[in-house]
């Protein structure tokens, strides 16, 4: 994290630089765009102040000071900052009950809240926490905005009706019920102005969306109200409340004002506002970031969210000293700014200048705008906040999205607004953890063409070798009961479990403990464990926890860049274990007791034979053969039999051929001295990438199960590498016969035994030098 003055000076420095290079040709476009934004934004700003429970003039002030600072110090060229409906709703929720509790004026509490919000936002910016907005999902924003829209509409109904609720109602249903109960006492003049404004805005929008319906609506309402004298006190209960009655707009611009609560801090109040300021800061940043991103996706501008966060924070911090409440990016004003041809951030500055001129020049007229008219305007805005299409889309995006959307919407209506945001974020994160917090298990089944088929877990046919593919996260939350889950796919037939762990992430110590337990469970059942697809990170964790040593290096296959390579090798290893077990388990009496006088191949051969695909590289074959040799204590170098994709014998790979190939890279004369073992190893490995089919011998004698010993002996002369394959009519390998077996078979058949009494063979002995 980088918290330094440099980032601050950098942020403002860039803004300054931008202004230095401001092109004259942009001036006209920005000035016009700013004017359009102001025409649309002035009534909106006054109405939003009403949402926050504040006099409309503060909405105008926020549209001036906060807008200018955020535009200059932010990153977006088109983002227009100022009062927003959602933020105003949160401000109302946070502050409405506090003046009575602390004996401080509402506006001073709002200034303190704005300052705190700005400082938090700037801190997010300096700490480069722009990524935090990623944790607030679309469902949260849609749900919150819709909820805020409902709240705004319900809260403004009383203003349209021209009534005041006796007691302060906090819950939305309390406000709604209270308002409904007041319907009989509704002021028909206020209703006419409110509904009239709504009608004007809706109709003009239908005629031409570019017509500033809101401005025309409130001007018309103000004109009618003034002409008909509906604002006169003489009307008593029938009087229509106008802006002047709330707090007159004096024609004065924002003045520098140090908030009272900064000069005379009230720590309890400050502490009480803390969580709300955080929620407000987050909501403001989310709004600003998402709106700026939406416009940037059209304009092609590359945004710097860190700078945008600092800009938003600076706008609110400085704004709090100029009678502004917390503001953020406004979607409607930003969209208008961009669509009206605004080219640079100066368009937003111009919108503030035009708003300021409105305050100075038209304050007198603005004071006559009826509150009911502004409320009508807000009900239209509230309706537009309930984005029906986005709600539908989110609802159809799955159960998780529905849960977050519904949860946020419900908590917006039921809980204090600042908590609604936290509830939404909490739900998003919990569901994110639920999605990531699982390990996907499937089973792999090797198909006849040597490929792999993925089948649902525990659905593969029973086999001696069970291959489980694990994907996803393997951290503590994901592995609960994984060991017992993995046991589910075992059958009485299972001898070896191959765990493919290639795409696992976030492997933690809990997962290792679980896997160790799984290993123990398998061991208790006399089942072997082979693991493959082990990446470097997993290897380290396995080493550190001792699992690597426990499983045994011979049963661990490390991931390579070739798909399924380590899995194939692991399966070869697994099947060799199965063969080994079969051999061990064959009872001694099951072996042929007496070799027939002249036996056939089926009674001589060994059915244990490792087969290998003929498309592999030499390095894989070397590895497999070295494993094969390690398992079998013999002196001769047995070959590896290769089969094609249909399982037919395709050749044999002889040790001598491999050595010849590897030795071809030894160049003694190059070094002028014998190579070190390391140099020799490198040279021997030089041909590892060769395909084994190029080295293998495809011309070898093949016999059938029914071949008699005499025929076998005749073929033996052609045997290379001392082993002869026994195949079925389709050349599928059934087993092998080596020279030792032929000698033994011949000796037994003809009853050739040493007569030790006569000293036969007494000098023949195994020696160790």
């Amino acid at each position: 994290m980088d918290f330094s003055l440099q980032s601050l000076t950098g942020a403002f420095g860039k803004a300054g630089k931008a202004s230095v290079h401001y092109a004259g040709s942009d001036l006209r476009h920005d000035a016009l765009a700013g004017l359009t934004v102001a025409v649309m934004g002035v009534p909106q700003a006054m109405a939003y102040a009403l949402i926050a429970g504040l006099p409309p003039v503060y909405g105008l002030y926020t549209s001036i000071a906060t807008c200018i600072v955020a535009a200059i110090s932010g990153s977006s060229n088109h983002l227009v900052t100022g009062p927003t409906n959602a933020l105003c709703m949160v401000i109302l929720s946070l502050t409405a009950h506090l003046p009575e509790k602390y004996g401080v004026s509402l506006i001073e509490i709002v200034f303190l809240l704005t300052l705190m919000t700005g400082l938090i936002q700037m801190a997010f910016g300096f700490l480069k926490m722009g990524g935090i907005v990623r944790y607030v999902s679309n469902s949260v924003v849609v749900g919150f905005t819709a909820g805020a829209g409902i709240l705004i509409a319900i809260n403004q109904l009383k203003n349209v009706l021209g009534v005041n609720l006796e007691a302060h109602a906090e819950r939305f249903y309390e406000v709604l019920i209270g308002t409904i109960q007041m319907v009989p006492e509704a002021n028909w003049r206020a209703v006419a102005l409110g509904v009239g404004t709504i009608a004007v805005v809706v109709i003009l929008k239908r005629i031409n969306p570019k017509i500033p319906g809101a401005l025309i609506g409130v001007i018309t309402a103000a004109g009618l109200s003034a002409m008909l004298g509906w604002h006169n006190d003489a009307l008593g209960a029938g009087q229509v409340e106008i802006v002047r009655d709330i707090q007159p707009i004096t024609g004065q611009l924002n003045e520098f004002h140090i908030p009272e609560l900064v000069l005379h801090p009230n720590y309890e109040l400050t502490r009480e506002l803390g969580a709300g300021a955080l929620a407000l800061a987050l909501l403001g940043l989310i709004e600003a970031a998402s709106i700026a991103r939406a416009v940037a996706s059209q304009s092609g501008q590359r945004l710097n969210f860190t700078r945008e966060f600092i800009g938003q924070g600076a706008g609110n911090v400085i704004g709090s000293f100029f009678s502004c409440f917390a503001g953020s990016g406004s979607f409607t004003r930003t969209a208008v700014c961009y669509q009206s041809g605004g080219r640079t951030r100066m368009a937003a500055v111009f919108s503030a200048i035009w708003t300021a001129l409105t305050v100075i020049l038209l304050a007198k007229f603005a004071n006559y705008i009826p509150k009911a008219s502004l409320a009508g305007l807000l009900i239209i805005i509230a309706w537009s906040m309930i984005e029906k299409e986005r709600l539908k889309l989110t609802w159809r995006s799955g159960a998780n999205s529905r849960l977050v959307l519904g949860g946020t919407l419900a908590s917006t209506l039921i809980l204090p607004l600042e908590y609604a945001i936290f509830v939404g974020v909490f739900l998003s994160i919990v569901l994110l953890l639920r999605v990531t917090g699982s390990t996907d298990l499937t089973q792999l089944v090797q198909s006849p063409d040597s490929g792999f088929e993925e089948v649902p877990f525990n659905r593969a046919a029973a086999s001696e070798v069970v291959t489980i593919n694990m994907e996803g996260d393997l951290y503590f939350a994901a592995v609960e009961d994984l060991d017992y889950e993995l046991v589910r796919c075992l059958t009485p037939k299972t001898r070896v479990v191959v765990l493919r762990m290639k795409r696992l992430r976030a492997v933690g110590s809990t997962a290792m403990a679980i896997l160790k337990h799984y290993y123990e469970l398998l061991k208790d059942r006399d089942i072997y464990l082979v693991v493959c697809g082990i990446e470097e990170e997993l290897k380290k964790v396995m080493t550190g926890t001792g699992l690597r040593q426990q499983v045994g290096e011979q049963n661990i296959f490390y991931a390579d860049n070739k798909l399924f390579q380590s899995t194939e090798l692991a399966l070869a290893r697994a099947w060799s274990i199965v063969e080994m077990e079969r051999r061990r388990e064959t009872p001694a009496e099951a072996k042929p007791k007496a070799v027939p006088a002249l036996p056939a191949a089926d009674s001589i051969m060994t059915r244990k034979c490792i087969r290998f695909g003929n498309q592999h590289q030499l390095r894989e074959a070397v590895w497999l053969m070295s494993e094969m040799y390690r398992r079998k204590v013999t002196y001769s170098a047995r070959p590896l039999f290769l089969q094609d994709t249909e399982g037919r014998l395709a050749g044999q790979l002889e040790t001598l051929s491999i050595l010849k190939e590897m030795a071809s890279h030894i160049r003694m004369e190059e070094l002028g001295r014998p190579a070190t073992d390391e140099e020799l190893g490198n040279r021997l490995a030089a041909s590892f990438s060769r395909r084994i089919s190029e080295i293998a011998n495809a011309d070898m004698p093949v016999c059938s199960e029914s071949n008699m010993l005499i025929n076998l002996l005749q073929s033996a002369e052609q045997i290379q590498a001392g082993v002869m394959p026994v195949c079925d009519p389709e050349r599928r390998i059934l087993g092998v016969i080596d020279e030792g077996q032929l000698i033994a078979a011949l000796g037994n058949a003809l009853n050739i035994h040493l007569n030790l009494d006569e000293g036969e063979g007494e000098d023949i002995k195994e020696v160790e030098s």
Binding site: I556, S664, P674, D677
Partner: protein, 168 residues
Amino acid sequence: MSAEAKSRQRLRDIMLRRYLRLGESHTMHEVMGFLTDKHFEENGLPFLVVIAEDGTFAGILEPKAILSSVAGGPVDSESPSDDGFAEIVARNLHLTVGQIMNRDIPRLSPDAFLEDAFLCLAENQTEVAAITEDDRVIGLVTARLLFEIASTLTVGSLTGGVIPPSSS
């Protein structure tokens, strides 16, 4: 000894020291009688090193040679009878080791290096070379042994799982 020299194995360090020793005068009957022992059925045939009467290395008796000499007599038909075949074998069992052994076995010094052994076996197309000292065999270098060493030396290039042979 320099560190570089230490990193080079000599054949003395790796050679196979265990083998079956027999003389040139042993008959095929004796050899086959010896080799039908169950011990060899389970563990495979060892290399049969033939030692001359003066104790020097004479050659290697290869299993293929045993089979071809014992069973490879003149068989007239493609499906000889059991009796006829038994007669041929009985006659050949009197052949001696000296008559059929391979005397053309390459020899290497115990002080030679690994690469000498690799090249020797590759050039001679043989599965075994004798390590001799003063013309007496002290060990063997076999294709299998060299293969295991090769897999160990190239362990870094292999895809895991290859373990160097244990010191035992």
